[in-house]
C-alpha cells in the first residue's frame, strides 16, 4: 500500500503509540495498520493536546452526532430544545454518559445569538453517569468545564465515586455558595473559593489535583481562586476500577446541580501520571472561552 493517505495514517498511529504508554482505557490497539480505527477521531481538534500523557480522558461534547435524546443512544439530538439522554465520550475510552432515568434528562440549547451550546441541569433531578471506569493507575487529575450557576444550593458538578468524602481515590467539584474542589487519596482535602460566587454568569473553571504532590488548585477564568497543600493521603484515583463519574448529582440522588454546562455535558476529566503542562491547561481553558 502506498500514497499520502496511508502514510498519514501510519504517522498518526505512531504518535498515538508514543502518547499512550500505560493507557488503560482501550486495551492494546496500536498495531501499525491502516485498518485500526483512531479512537480520537471525534475529539475536537482544539483538545488534542490533552491526549499526550493521558492515562484516561473523558469528554462528552455537546455536538450534533454525539448527543442522543434517548438513554439508549438511538435517537439523535438534532436541534435546540431537545432532551439529552446519552452523550458519547470522545476521549478514547468510550465512557459514554447516560441520564440516570428518562426523567433525569436535561435539555440541550443552542443559543442563536452567541452560538454557544449548553445543557441545563434543573437542580431537582437532572443527572448523568458514565459506566464504571477502569482504574487509570495514576494519582493526578485535571478537570475543566464552563458553567453558569443558577443558585447557591449545593450542586455536584462532577464526583468520581459515590462519595468523595469517604471513598478512597475520589475527587469532586461542587458549588454551594462558592466553588469547592475535593480530592481524597486516603484523606479528604477540599480547596474552597473564598468570597461569593456570581449567579447567571458563564465562567470557566479548572481544577488540578495531585495526590502524592499534596496539591489542589482551583482556577476561574484562568486565575487561581483557591488551593491546598494539605495531605490527601496516598494511592491513585479509582484504584480498584469501581467508580463512575457522576455528573450533576451525587450517585445516591442528592445535591442536584442547578446550572447550565457549556460545550460539554459535564467537565472534561483527565487522569495522568504527570501534571498537565501549561500548554495543555491553556488548550482546555481556551476551549471553554
Amino acid at each position: 500500500m502506498s500514497g499520502p493517505g496511508v502514510t498519514a495514517q501510519v504517522k498518526l498511529q505512531s504518535s498515538m503509540l508514543n502518547s499512550f504508554n500505560g493507557f488503560s482505557g482501550i486495551g492494546s490497539p496500536f498495531n501499525i495498520n491502516a485498518s485500526v480505527v483512531n479512537p480520537f477521531k471525534n475529539l475536537p481538534s482544539a483538545l488534542s493536546p490533552l491526549i499526550t500523557g493521558a492515562a484516561q480522558l473523558i469528554i462528552h461534547p455537546l455536538e450534533y452526532g454525539s448527543m442522543f435524546q434517548d438513554r439508549a443512544g438511538t435517537i439523535p439530538v438534532t436541534e435546540s430544545g431537545q432532551l439529552v439522554g446519552h452523550v458519547l465520550d470522545v476521549g478514547g475510552g468510550n465512557f459514554h454518559a447516560t441520564a440516570v432515568s428518562d426523567a433525569a434528562r436535561g435539555i440541550f440549547y443552542a443559543d442563536t445569538g452567541t452560538g454557544g451550546v449548553r445543557i441545563r441541569y434543573n437542580g431537582v433531578n437532572t443527572a448523568y453517569q458514565t459506566p464504571v471506569l477502569p482504574a487509570p493507575g495514576v494519582d493526578k487529575a485535571q478537570v475543566f468545564f464552563s458553567m453558569t450557576r443558577h443558585n447557591s444550593s449545593f450542586g455536584m458538578i462532577v464526583e468520581l465515586s459515590p462519595n468523595s468524602g469517604t471513598y478512597n481515590g475520589s475527587l469532586a467539584i461542587f458549588e454551594g455558595g462558592t466553588y469547592q474542589a475535593r480530592s481524597r487519596g486516603t484523606s479528604t482535602v477540599t480547596a474552597i473559593q473564598s468570597g461569593t460566587q456570581s449567579r447567571w454568569t458563564k465562567e470557566g473553571i479548572t481544577a488540578l489535583f495531585d495526590i502524592s504532590g499534596r496539591l489542589i488548585r482551583l482556577r476561574k477564568n484562568g486565575t487561581q481562586i483557591a488551593s491546598s497543600t494539605e495531605s490527601q493521603g496516598t494511592g491513585n484515583y479509582n484504584s480498584f476500577g469501581e467508580f463512575r463519574l457522576n455528573l450533576g448529582a451525587r450517585q445516591n440522588g442528592s445535591f442536584y446541580l442547578a446550572g447550565d454546562s457549556w460545550r460539554t455535558l459535564g467537565p472534561i476529566t483527565r487522569f495522568s501520571a504527570a501534571n498537565a503542562t501549561e500548554d495543555q491547561i491553556a488548550a482546555a481553558e481556551a476551549y471553554y472561552t
Binding site: 438513554r71 432515568s101 428518562d102 434528562r105 434543573n122 431537582v124 433531578n125 455536584m156 440522588g253
Partner: protein, 115 residues
C-alpha cells in the same frame, strides 16, 4: 413541549419507582424528598419531567395493578420546558419544601481547607 410534576406520598415511593421502571423510565424517578417544613419526617417524594402526550395517556390509563399508585400520585401538567420553575410553583401551591440531609457524609459536614 410539556412538563409534569409528580408527587407521591412517602409510603408509595418504592412502588412508584418500580412502576416507573416497568413503564421504561429506567431508574428511580421519585428522587426529591419533601415535607411541609423541609425537615424530617419526609412525607412525600416527587420529581418534574418533560413528558409526551403518549406518556400522559399511559399514565392516565394504568393497568389494574398500578391503579392505586396512580391514584395516590398528584400530578400537574403545563406547557413549556422549564421543569425547575414548574416544580417550585407546585411545591409552593402544595405547601411542600425540599428536604436536604446533613449527615456525617454530607458535603457540608466534611472538613474544608481554603485559601
Amino acid at each position: 413541549m410539556m412538563t409534569r410534576v409528580f408527587i407521591i406520598p412517602a409510603a408509595y415511593r418504592d412502588a412508584g419507582n418500580k412502576m416507573a421502571t416497568t413503564m421504561g423510565w429506567g431508574g428511580d424517578v421519585f428522587v426529591q424528598p419533601l415535607s411541609s417544613d423541609g425537615n424530617e419526617p419526609i412525607t412525600h417524594w416527587g420529581f418534574p419531567a418533560v413528558v409526551s402526550e403518549e406518556l400522559i395517556q399511559t399514565w392516565n390509563n394504568p393497568p389494574k395493578k398500578a391503579a392505586e399508585i396512580v391514584a395516590a400520585t398528584y400530578t400537574d401538567t403545563r406547557k413549556g420546558d422549564d421543569t425547575a420553575a414548574h416544580w417550585y410553583d407546585v411545591l409552593e401551591e402544595k405547601g411542600l419544601t425540599m428536604f436536604v440531609a446533613e449527615d456525617e457524609n454530607s458535603i457540608i459536614a466534611n472538613p474544608e481547607i481554603s485559601q
